[in-house]
Chain length 129, copies 2
DNA sequence: GTTCGTGGTCACTTGTGGTTACCCAGAAAC
DNA sequence: GTTTCTGGGTAACCACAAGTGACCACGAAC
C-alpha cells in the first residue's frame, strides 16, 4: 500500500491514513467480501437471496461479512420490521467504487484463465529425472 | 463471478471456466497475496526484501503465498544455487495484469478513507436511548 | 397447537493461518 | 579444523478463524 504524497497533509495524517488503509485492505481483501460486493451489484438484495447466490458461503460468514461491510460504509442495511423479518442490502457509493475494481479482477480472471490453468498443470506435474 | 457469454464455447467450457475462476479468485483474494503482488511491483525482489517490506507477514505465510502465486503463474521464481541461497521473484505478465487491479483497490482505499473512517465511527458508537 | 418462513445468534467442531525451531551447505572468521 | 553466520525452506505445533447445526422470535396459515 503506497501512500501518495499529498500537498498540505502532515506526516501524522499520512501515517494514520497508512495504517487505516492497511486495516481496510485486510478487511476487504477476502474472497467473501469481494464476492458479496460483486453479487449485490446494482441491485437491492435480501439476505437469503445472497445466501443462495453466493455458492458455498455459510450462514454465519454471510452475516459476519455483511456486518463488516456495513461498518465500513460499503453497504446499507435496511430492516423491515415485519414478520417474518425482511432485510435489504444495497451498495453505497463507496461500495460501488470498490465493485468497479472487483469487476476488474473478474475480467482479469477471465483473461488469464488459460494461462493460469497451463501454469498450474506445469507446476503440479512431478519433475521426471 | 459472472461468466461472460463467449461465442463458440460450449456450456461445459463455461462451467469449467466458472469453477476455475472461483478457485483462482479464492486463491488470489487474500490480503497477503495482493500485498505481495503490490510489493513486488515492477522490480525483482529477494525473499528477505519482501519479508522486510511487507509489514507483519510471517516467514511461512510469505513462502506459502509465493508458492501459490508461482503455481498460478503470477510470478516467476529464480533460484541461484549459491551459498547462502539467493531467490529472486518477479511478476509475470499475468501478475502485472492483476497488479493493475490491485492498484485500483489501493486508489479506492485512498479515495474513500474518510468516508470509511466516518462510517466506522458511526457504527461503533453505541446508540443512546 | 403445530408448522413454516426469515434473519440472526450461540455453541461446538474442523480447518488453516501463524509461530517456532530446526535444517542445509559452504564461506569466512578464529 | 571447529565455529559461526547466512538466506531460504520446512515440519511440528498452537491458537484462532471458518464452517456446522441447533435454536430463537414472531405471526400467519392450516
Amino acid at each position: 500500500m503506497v501512500t501518495k504524497q499529498l500537498n498540505g497533509s502532515d506526516d501524522a495524517d499520512l501515517l494514520r491514513a497508512d495504517s487505516l488503509a492497511r486495516e481496510i485492505f485486510s478487511d476487504v481483501a477476502n474472497k467473501w467480501a469481494l464476492l458479496i460486493i460483486e453479487t449485490i451489484g446494482d441491485r437491492t438484495r435480501r439476505f437469503t437471496e445472497l445466501r443462495d447466490d453466493i455458492e458455498g458461503i455459510s450462514h454465519k460468514m454471510l452475516t459476519q461479512n455483511l456486518r463488516m461491510l456495513e461498518r465500513n460504509g460499503l453497504l446499507e442495511r435496511t430492516v423491515h420490521p415485519t414478520v417474518p423479518p425482511r432485510v435489504d442490502y444495497s451498495l453505497t457509493e463507496a461500495g460501488h467504487g470498490l465493485r468497479a475494481t472487483v469487476d476488474g479482477m473478474c475480467d482479469w480472471t477471465q483473461r488469464f484463465l488459460g494461462h493460469i490453468e497451463d501454469s498450474r498443470r506445469r507446476f503440479d506435474t512431478p519433475v521426471n529425472g
